[in-house]
């Protein structure tokens, strides 16, 4: 049975610290665009921590919500791409093939979660910052759309490692950079087709819900809301 990757986000444990954001930059060769471009709305964060205020002082609350590509089963980004740069893999991921992307940006418009980011210019790494680049992840050039991949390079590495060691892939062998770094373990990644995986167990809980589920996108990221006690 093919794997089906899923992520569970425990908003009760998420502290909004931003470790996942930096981890994602480090893992996936995401460029920093600099203040001028950031001011024009070109900052790239494949995972972002949304924060929403509720209420007014002094009865004020704040909620964090990490949002990354939801790897939807019915992904609105996929059918609109004229070149198949964005399509579905057998393991349920929304693949983005950078080499095939011509930059219509249609997928980003169709994405209700706004998790797709665009290389408006060729990215720059002031030397020797380029030495840090992860050789397992391609560096995108100008005009290409990109987004969270669930760290597909780590998924593949995990599978290869398991194969080399002639064993089945175990739950927890593979962790995307965000889940790996999360200090409070609010992100749980795993194979949803394995009923015993941590993510499957979490998903069976009735507390979990997909983001904007009513749009029919069938996301593979499940959010567990914060408990509200009186």
């Amino acid at each position: 049975m093919p794997h089906k990757w899923g992520l569970a986000v425990d908003l009760d444990a998420c502290t909004g610290c931003g470790a996942c954001v930096t981890a994602c930059h480090a893992e996936n060769n995401i460029p920093t665009v600099g203040p001028d471009q950031a001011a024009r709305g070109r900052a790239m964060h494949w995972i972002r921590i949304e924060r929403y205020w509720e209420g007014e002082f002094p009865d004020v609350r704040l909620r964090f919500r990490p949002v990354m590509c939801q790897q939807c089963d019915n992904a609105p980004c996929e059918p609109v791409c004229p070149t198949y740069a964005s399509h579905h893999t057998e393991e349920g991921l929304n693949a983005q093939v950078y080499n095939r992307c011509i930059g219509t940006r249609y997928c980003a418009n169709a994405c209700p979660y706004n998790v797709r980011f665009f290389e408006f210019f060729n990215p720059v790494w002031e030397k020797p910052l380029h030495l840090q680049l992860n050789p397992d992840v391609s560096v995108r050039e100008v005009g290409v759309m990109e987004k969270c991949t669930f760290c597909v390079q780590r998924i593949n590495a995990g599978k290869i490692q398991a194969k080399a060691e002639a064993r089945e892939l175990a739950d927890g062998d593979i962790k995307p950079a965000c889940a790996q770094s999360c200090p409070s373990k609010a992100l749980v990644f795993g194979d949803a087709s394995d009923p015993d995986s941590a993510v499957s167990k979490l998903r069976r809980s009735s507390r979990g819900a997909g983001l904007l589920e009513d749009l029919g996108t069938r996301p593979n990221v499940t959010y567990f809301p914060r408990h509200t006690e009186a």
């Binding site: 909004g16 610290c17 600099g34 840090q132 200090p183």
Partner: protein, 740 residues
């Protein structure tokens, strides 16, 4: 190389070839044979230690091949090097347990920073001009050794080393060096230091150290201003505990209440957020204690010495009845009673104090009050409460008093410090302008710095001996908090140095041998020898001796016998005194609350582009400074989001764009620390403004620590938005109806 650069280069090479007729310049690029055995594409994982704060999180460094431009024997060329690619939290480390904060993730950019100092530098222009020339290590070391010899000859203890307070062997080495040289102990300064809490713990519990919170097993946590999930103490360890407290135990979920004047990132996670009048946190803690005692949940004697320190504790804290406390703190009496009942009924529970409550002039009182509350509830040393971790060899404490040292320099004609060495400290930026640290340093005849970067302090140096980055050298840590066991961490270099730099400890050891009268007996040859020696005293574990374990895993941890509490000096019982604030309330109506920013702490990581572009958790701001102002105050002053505002204290003023925040008491304005660097690499220089500059020189009287929350300010709109506030988020609030 991008397509365009390639085309340009081909055009260039083409014409060059035509002109010279001798082939393409690519053939002239020298490829050196790699120093290490590298298998391209195969990652190695090496241990490391995060250098950014005192938590001492363990790292796993992913090392892979990369093509670096290097200089060998004066020849520039390309070489395949084993380069660190990513930092991850070491899963085996009992402190961070695999996690790592955003700052720790970004620390790798220190190594690869384009503005690192790559050679020893000697000042060639006026002080502070930033004009330096490259010198050889030989020349630099000879010069510094000569200076040291001159001091030794004069027989005066006028050598000083300025550092951060650090918990590692490097600090021990610095102290040893000074001691052997006959100079006073290292001068340490940290803006957001925890001296007040350490002192309070010494008074309450006989342990002058930071506590470790066993959040994993807590059922109820009440935080007094401590940003323990963001920047305070050991945030990764505490976040791990917090995550487990919330979701790690099936059927049990710990409740968390945060008491503070400005909603911090930590406060944002609280089930209940309680704004309190700045400078009255301890009163609230004693208010809880009052209810607990008077409703006979716990007897006052349960608090032991920690309770006895508080005036009226044995008598049930008559002065802290809920109505009284409500009046002082602004928290309703019924709520106080409810919090108190929850605190005892839901035990194990723990109260955490840190950050701003410790930083007004009466900070020590608040710490003692919270200690008494914890003791009363029986939370000290109990599962789900707080512990004092046994220490695997603590470094000698430095001496504080940077303000006095600066005053001393400015007031005397013959400077009491003739030669100043600076290691990992930037007090010109992190000390209030009122202390005149810059002016004082300018009077020091000779300054040598071990800085990796030109910052406001190192730019004043006469000689810079650039240190390796933490990935290029032996590093160690002896964390005082964060795990329930003793931890001693050490890690060998993860990669070879990129530049012509040298590890500061080795330079210091080298200097000790170059002196005209070398130390006798000599210090160890190298820093790793010193490290290995220091691990010898630690017990063996199953995996081997401590030194071997530390080198392979990055940290040794284990149970050490807990030392007996230190004898507590006799003290008069303490009572609440109002905090003293600089500035008259009529003229300066707002409390000014600078706080360590999630990305930059005290500003020491502002040079890392990933952190500059990391959206702040609460405001989503990137590459910016801002002033947070409560909704009501903003409306009163006609200040709207993005407007430029001027914050004026008795010491001066700063300008910054405004963020109107719903999570801020109406008489408080808050500002993140970290930006406003004059000199700190291309990414941080000239960006934003520095709130520390306008802090009044208030002090906590017991410890002499800077009371950084003790300044009052006035706020005025200074103009329309100038586009300096760069936000990632579009809107602050969700579309209400959708969420449920």
């Amino acid at each position: 190389m991008d397509r365009r650069a390639f085309i340009k280069l081909s055009a260039l090479t083409g014409s060059a070839a035509t002109l010279a007729g001798c082939g393409s310049p690519e053939n002239h690029v020298i490829r050196f044979v790699p120093d290490d055995e590298i298998v391209p594409g195969i990652a190695q994982w090496k241990p490391g230690i995060c250098p950014l704060c005192q938590a001492g999180c363990g790292l796993q460094v992913r090392v892979m091949d990369a093509d670096a431009e290097v200089v060998r024997n004066g020849q520039r060329g390309m070489m395949k090097v084993a380069a660190a690619k990513k930092l991850e939290g070491a899963a085996s480390n009992p402190i961070n347990r695999g996690g790592l904060c955003p700052r720790g993730q970004a620390a790798i950019q220190i190594t690869y920073h384009p503005d690192r100092i790559t050679h020893p530098l000697k000042r060639s222009g006026p002080r502070g001009s930033g004009a330096f020339r490259e010198v050889s290590w030989e020349e630099a070391l000879a010069e510094l050794a000569g200076r040291l010899d001159a001091l030794a000859g004069a027989g005066a203890p006028t050598l000083a080393i300025l550092t951060r307070p650090r918990r590692n062997l490097r600090q021990t080495l610095v102290a040893t060096f000074l001691e052997r040289f006959g100079a006073p102990s290292p001068l340490t300064y940290e803006l957001f230091g925890d001296d007040v809490l350490r002192r309070a713990n010494a008074i309450s519990f006989g342990r002058e150290q930071m506590p470790t919170f066993d959040l994993t097993r807590s059922n109820y946590v009440i935080g007094f201003g401590a940003d323990f999930l963001g920047t305070w103490n050991s945030p990764v360890s505490q976040s791990a505990g917090y995550g487990a407290m919330r979701s790690g135990r099936p059927g049990a979920r710990g409740r968390f209440v945060q008491v503070e004047a400005r909603m911090s990132q930590t406060g944002a996670s609280a089930d209940e957020w309680i704004p309190v009048r700045p400078g009255t946190e301890g009163v609230l803690a004693l208010g809880l204690a009052h209810v607990i005692i008077n409703e006979q949940h716990r007897p006052p004697e349960a608090a032991g010495t920690a309770g006895a320190l508080i005036e009226g504790f044995a008598g049930g804290l008559a002065d802290y009845a809920p109505d009284e406390v409500a009046q002082r703190t602004g928290v309703a009496a019924a709520r106080i009673a409810r919090l108190a009942r929850d605190f005892v009924e839901r035990r194990p529970s723990v109260a955490i104090i840190g950050g701003a409550p410790l930083a007004p002039t009466n900070g020590l009182f608040h710490a003692l009050a919270v200690n008494a509350l914890n003791a009363l509830a029986g939370s000290v040393g109990q599962p789900g409460g707080l512990f004092f971790m046994p220490q695997a060899g603590a470094p000698p404490a430095g001496r504080g008093g940077l303000d006095q040292a600066a005053a001393g320099l400015l007031s005397s004609a013959d400077p009491p410090i003739q030669l100043l060495l600076i290691d990992e400290a930037n007090p010109v930026f992190t000390a209030p302008a009122a202390w005149k640290v810059r002016e004082a340093l300018e009077k020091v005849p000779y300054i040598a710095s071990f800085a990796c970067f030109l910052d406001e302090t190192s730019v004043l140096a006469d000689l810079i001996l650039p240190d390796h980055s933490f990935l290029e050298s032996w590093v160690d840590a002896r964390p005082e908090s964060g795990a329930l066991v003793a931890v001693a961490a050490a890690a060998p270099p993860a990669m070879r140095p990129l530049h012509s730099t040298r590890a500061m400890p080795d330079v210091l050891l080298d200097l000790s041998r170059r002196l005209q009268t070398p130390f006798d007996p000599p210090l160890p040859e190298t820093f790793d020898a010193m490290l290995s020696e220091s691990f010898a005293s630690l017990p063996e574990s199953e995996a081997g001796d401590a030194w071997t374990v530390a080198q392979t895993d990055g940290a040794w941890s284990g149970d050490l016998p807990q030392a007996d509490p230190a004898a507590r000096p006799a003290r008069e019982p303490v009572r609440f005194v109002e905090a003293q604030f600089d500035g008259d309330a009529a003229q300066y109506p707002f409390h000014f609350l600078p706080y360590p920013s999630q990305a930059f702490l005290d500003g020491s990581t502002a040079h890392l582009p990933w952190l500059q572009e990391l959206p702040d958790p609460l405001t989503s701001a990137m590459w910016s400074t801002w002033v947070e102002i409560g909704s009501e105050a903003a409306a009163r002053l006609s200040i709207r989001e993005g407007d430029m505002v001027e914050i004026t204290s008795s010491q001066g003023s700063v300008r910054a764009p405004a963020i109107v925040s719903p999570g801020l008491a109406p008489d408080v304005v808050a500002m993140p620390v970290g930006q406003g660097h004059e000199t700190f690499t291309r990414y941080a220089s000239g960006r934003g403004s520095n709130p520390i500059a306008i802090l009044a020189p208030m002090r906590e009287p017991d410890t002499g620590a800077l009371a950084w929350a003790g300044t009052r300010v006035r706020v005025a709109r200074a103009g329309a938005p100038e586009g300096r506030l760069i936000l990632f988020a579009g809107q602050m609030r969700d579309i209400e109806a959708r969420e449920r």
